[in-house]
Symmetry: C2
Subunit: 141 residues, 2 copies
């Protein structure tokens, strides 16, 4: 008998790709991890989903720098539902690229992603080209 | 005239060290970023504060592996208070070390950090030796 319920070596249930995408589409706040001068960085981002690609606005700085070089990033979203004793976490891994295509930018703008940085600062849209989308769910004791 | 209100280049208010520590002490869920085979990883962790050092339990795996090698990590916590139009994010950077000292472990256990991984799996306590603790606060438009 086969089952869709699969767990990893830590006993966490592996979420299906569809579940992961659903969680990504309903989330607004994530954290983006990247490597800067050899060291790990984690910063919060508000993002939207363009198909299966997370997109977010950023100002110049370390985030944009990493993006412009096509560096690898990991975008994480999580949620804890204490009431139902459940927590889950989804991670998108891929490369970050600055978006210059006007039609794509218009699509991203229509997602109405809330600003994280102060409005008024110059911002660029960054697209994460997903190589993998994985999620784990835990039933809290 | 001097002021304690300092902003970074993106217009975000820089939080004081005390504010950052207060937020870390009231948080339970953070995300830990580290570099694994050259690529960024971000995973959720439930953690406690032992003085100004975040401590968390982990099972064997990538997180423990990074910790055992004394690798650099970045632990991020954030909160969005839509009602008051405010968001903030605190990042602790430092090196992760597995704790073997029994007195220290007893202190960590007393913090009653909720488990993220399934109970029953072998866990180790990891201490982040902080090199820097920084935070940014944004008044959402």
């Amino acid at each position: 008998m086969t089952t869709n319920e699969t767990t990893d070596r830590r006993g966490l249930r592996i979420m299906s790709r569809e579940e992961c995408l659903r969680m990504l589409r309903s989330a607004r706040l994530g954290r983006i991890g990247f490597v800067h001068d050899g060291d790990p960085e984690v910063l919060p981002v508000t993002f939207g989903m363009d198909g299966d690609a997370p997109v977010f606005r950023t100002t110049w700085g370390a985030k944009l720098d990493a993006a412009m070089r096509g560096h690898a990033v990991a975008l994480e979203v999580d949620s804890v539902h204490s009431a139902v004793g459940r927590a889950c976490s989804v991670v998108v891994k891929g490369s970050a690229v600055v978006e210059y295509d006007e039609a794509a930018i218009a699509r991203y703008e229509s997602l109405r992603v809330p600003a994280w940085a102060d409005p008024g600062t110059d911002t660029f849209w960054v697209r994460v080209r997903p190589d993998s989308i994985t999620g784990r769910q835990l039933n809290l004791g």
